[in-house]
Symmetry: C2
Subunit: 135 residues, 2 copies
C-alpha cells in the first residue's frame, strides 16, 4: 500500500471549550473546522499544524468510543491517522497480513475522508486509522 503521510493525530478531550485553547491560542495552530461525525459518536475540532493535523475529539455521549476511552484512560492521544492513496487496496493488503480491522469496509469520516480503523492488538497498542482523501 502507498502511505502518503500522517494525516492527523486524534486527541480525546473532556471538553472542546476548556481544552481547545491550548492548541488554538497557545500554539496558534490554524483552525480548519468543527464537525460532528455521528457514525463515530464524536465532535471533531480540527487544526492544521502545517504538516499533518491535530483533531480534537469530544465524545457525543459516554457510551461512544471516545466517551469510553475517556472513562478508561482520561484525555490524551486517542488514535493516529495515516493517509493512504487507495484505502480498498490497503484493507486487502492488511487482511492478507493478518491485521485485525475494526470494520471490513471504509466509512465516511471528518472532512469527507474514507476511513477505516485497525485494531490496536495488531499494531502494538496504537489505534491506527487509515484515510483516503475525497476526490
Amino acid at each position: 500500500m502507498k502511505i502518503l503521510g500522517i494525516e492527523h493525530i486524534g486527541i480525546a478531550v473532556e471538553s472542546l471549550e476548556t481544552d481547545a485553547p491550548f492548541w488554538k491560542h497557545v500554539l496558534g495552530l490554524d483552525h480548519s473546522g468543527t464537525e460532528a461525525v455521528k457514525d463515530q459518536g464524536v465532535i471533531t475540532d480540527i487544526y492544521n499544524s502545517g504538516r499533518g493535523k491535530i483533531e480534537l475529539l469530544e465524545a457525543l455521549g459516554e457510551h461512544s468510543p471516545v466517551g469510553k476511552f475517556l472513562e478508561k484512560r482520561g484525555p490524551g492521544v486517542h488514535h493516529i491517522c495515516l493517509e493512504v492513496e487507495n484505502i480498498h487496496e490497503a484493507i486487502t493488503e492488511l487482511k492478507e497480513n493478518g491485521i485485525e480491522m475494526i470494520a471490513d469496509e471504509p466509512s465516511i469520516g471528518a472532512e469527507g475522508f474514507l476511513v477505516v480503523f485497525l485494531h490496536p492488538k495488531s499494531t502494538g497498542g496504537v489505534l491506527v486509522e487509515l484515510s483516503q482523501k475525497p476526490k
Copy 2:
C-alpha cells in the same frame, strides 16, 4: 511561535524486535535510523511516513521514562512532537502563557534535534515535545 508541522509521533513498544515489523514490513514505511538517546533512556527506531515520522521507543531500563510509561499504560502513543522554527522563542512564549515545561532548556534528542517537553497537565493530557532541526 512558528510551528512547522508534526515532526513525529513517539510510540512506546515493549520490544523493537516484535513491534517494529508492523510499521516496517506491514505498512512498508521507510526506515530512517536506530539510535540510543541515553539522556532520555530510550532506543529510538525511526520511520518516515512521507509527512512526519513514526518514532518507536524501546526503554533503556524499567526506571526510564518510557519504562515507567510501559509499566503504567502498556504499549501505545507516548508523545507527539511538533517542529518549531525557534525552540528558545517557543519556550519563552509558552512560559509566558503559564505552560509547565518538563525542562527549562532544550536538550539534544534523536537525529540531533534540539528538544523540550511540555507537561501533559498543561496540554490536556498529551505529552507534547517541541523540536528544532539541527542547522
